[in-house]
Amino acid sequence: MTEEGLFYLVRTPIFLRMNFQKIIKSCPHSKIFDILLYPFIKLDTLCSLDNEYMMWINLSFYIQKYIVKIENFIARTESRSYENEVRYKWNMLKIEEHLKREYKCHWIDNAEVNQNYEGTFLKFINISIPSSTIEIRLKENNTGYIVIKEKIKKSKKKNMKNIQNFYNILHESREKKIGRQFSNVIEISASEFIFSIMSPFGVFNLTKSNILNHDDLFTKSLERAREVFDKTYKSIMNPKLYSVEALLKSYIFEMANDTDLNI
């Protein structure tokens, strides 16, 4: 079977009822499998896992799901014009000087800086007091505003004059933009792979466990999935200690303690 034949099969509903292991054996070097399977599990392992019906059904569902996702992304890019989309590159020196001069924020020199890819959002975080931040947001027509937070519930919002003096506009090619977005679509985490393929009744016999155990790619993926699962489990079972709010609170508390010690 050809690569095109495989694509044709994956897009048919009957694909979920076919013996997926035989399909892999019939075109083992397909790019679909290179991207979606082999970063997490070796071909030899897949070929050795006979009679794992639930796992194989889950695997074919996983492949079909991602092909639909890729197809949807392609359909979106076809109907989208990338011409008017630009990126903003901030002149950090200039903006830091401005913030120090206008707002007396001298902590800005050691601040943690976050920004989105397009550069329409820029955030400085005071590493000594994480609740103290400065955000700069760009709006359409070269206008923007600045939000200064000194305490968690206190913030000042001001328009930023002559904001266009602080950035340069970068024009990216359509190819580069699509490539960047597409890499987000096809970059699958190991935990996503493991959770997609494991059956809820997954108990393996000695032979199967040994096959999976000897695949270093699979064991690494399993470890990563376990870390993610542990976090989820803890945050649900013990929200007072492990929910997002609790973790953030303890982080801020630790930072404050460190600052006191330094003083």
Binding site: T2, F7, Y8, S26, K31, I70, I74, I178, G179
Partner: protein, 97 residues
């Protein structure tokens, strides 16, 4: 980033190509057969809804020439549509897919 765009182009070309292909249900079932049985050839494919007939003397399957020709035509059509290819590794004689 460039590699990622190449991947995008690859998937886009394949999906566009597949969308243009029109094959009937019988041809589809032949494609499924070849996918699950690589290295097969037209003699291997049984016509649907027909019992397999055996030659009692030699204990081998009776081959119906018209069924074979029909199967071969469908496989050739699938090959022209680039959905299947010749299996060059196959040790069987004749056209193997």
């Amino acid at each position: 980033m460039y590699e990622s765009y190449q991947n995008y182009e690859y998937f886009r070309n394949k999906i566009e190509f597949i969308k243009r292909i029109k094959i009937n249900e019988l041809a589809k079932s032949y494609l499924f057969y070849i996918a699950l049985n690589p290295g097969s050839y037209a003699y291997d494919i049984e016509p649907p809804n027909k019992e397999i007939s055996y030659n009692a003397d030699t204990d081998t399957k009776k081959t119906n020439q018209s069924n074979y020709r029909k199967a071969n035509n469908i496989l050739n059509r699938l090959h022209e549509s680039k959905l299947i290819k010749f299996d060059i590794d196959s040790k069987k004689k004749g056209s193997s897919w």
